[in-house]
Chain length 312, copies 2
Amino acid sequence: MSVYTPVTEAELRDWLRQYSVGALLACEPVAAGIENSNYFVTTAQGRFVLTLFERLPAEELPFYLELMAHLARHGIPCPAPIADLSDRYLQRLNGKPAALVTRLPGRSLEAPAAAHCAELGALLGRMHLAGRSYATYLENPRGPKWWRVAAREVTPFLEACKRALLEDEMAFQAQRRFPDLPRGPVHADLFRDNALFEDGRISGVIDFYFAGIDCLLFDLAVCANDWCLESYRLDAGRIGALLRAYHAVRPFAPLEREAWPVMLRAAALRFWLSRLHDHHLPRPGMLVHAHDPEHFRQILESRRGAAAPWID
Amino acid sequence: MSVYTPVTEAELRDWLRQYSVGALLACEPVAAGIENSNYFVTTAQGRFVLTLFERLPAEELPFYLELMAHLARHGIPCPAPIADLSDRYLQRLNGKPAALVTRLPGRSLEAPAAAHCAELGALLGRMHLAGRSYATYLENPRGPKWWRVAAREVTPFLEACKRALLEDEMAFQAQRRFPDLPRGPVHADLFRDNALFEDGRISGVIDFYFAGIDCLLFDLAVCANDWCLESYRLDAGRIGALLRAYHAVRPFAPLEREAWPVMLRAAALRFWLSRLHDHHLPRPGMLVHAHDPEHFRQILESRRGAAAPWID
């Protein structure tokens, strides 16, 4: 359960008068999510999600909300922020920055098949194309700069072999930056629980609060390490489907083929680091169990030890 | 049938590459509508409507498209224009200005009950509140200025009694302008066929191509003369439901009560005039039968002869 800030029905009813979404019919807290407080809100107009931002720096919030608005108006099925009567996406509620966004239909999948990975790949390609005209800049807040800070902080907690792995991977990544890869807004956290499906089609991509500007290929690597996993390796059928469907929408640049193995390792490193950090240095008041860091260490080891599948 | 400009599947497939809505799955011309060419377009991403603008001045199109975008991001269920990869709503296709908008679910009603009129009233209230922050100005293109032009043009075709009615109503209206009524963007053409319902709830308002800035009350009068009609009179149950639901969202100003009977007559006059004009002076190439002007003459006579129902 991860609602940090309670909101009563009376408070919400009052607050919604600043919007043109009609009267409140129902409100229930959302159990999933570990960074914000979320509520499912139903009004006379439709279904929405109310988010109270618990952690994110207030100055970064417009980047996320405007990005979702940008993608939504390009036809990407992502939560569309609702503007209030003063035409603002960002409001306050019970002392927290807050936003109302559309609630998308569908459910996330635990065990996606190759066809679902193809749906995801095509959508990611479309999202990256649509993101090209988004003008606001925010560096991926969990990019290489953050890795260095996090690595320094978690190192004292690591046993020798893991410390050696981390040092070695950090050194490897530092020598292999690709400044010329296609870049743009990336979701950067598109795990299975952040995609919704309905009747076999992808019906929504949610939770853009780790988005930032980075290599587009990084987004794909994050997806691959979650959607295509088979005993920590990449399942040939699913990774092929993901890459081919993406390529059909946004054809890969030659440099991206070269960068792919490095990017898969970078994506594993990023989540190993954040899970180590949440595990050893939990934020005060954090209500949920941190994910086990071991999962991404194993993925990283696997990516280091095996050739990265690619398409012909 | 009202598709003036043909579009082949190959042309559409090519054209859609400028958007991030995925590959074309199906396309069918839309029979309804008399002003533009419309196609239902299904892509890998969802359901859209493609509109080729046949009549509207190109410089007015941004007003309509931006208004729909504005209302949609305030949570109003209206067609949301899809931005292309260069971030523009307005494109060209086969020599015509063209736009792609979301296709809304639901069906229009022929015989709405009081509950449907209440749904409409609440939505219209929310739409007017959301429209308040829309900054672009376009005078209602079928407002009093246009009435004078149209009246002059159709008068030669009218028999004496209708000519007298038109002259008398024009004089009546000219003496009763209400510059202090609440104004803003109005749909101005919200007949039954421009609203969609699903499971008894209003699921969409479509066809904003007669919108403009005018008295908000005018929008309600247009609705009343279509949705609440009973042998040309206003059905007490339906008009009461419409007005009460609207008032609950945007409470009426005292002046609006006074203006209401005049506004009902103005709304009847506007459509009598346009139907007379389409009937006697059809545009070249107009493919559809013009509506019978008599219908709105009868409504106008009825509004002139009876007290206008209002809420307590």
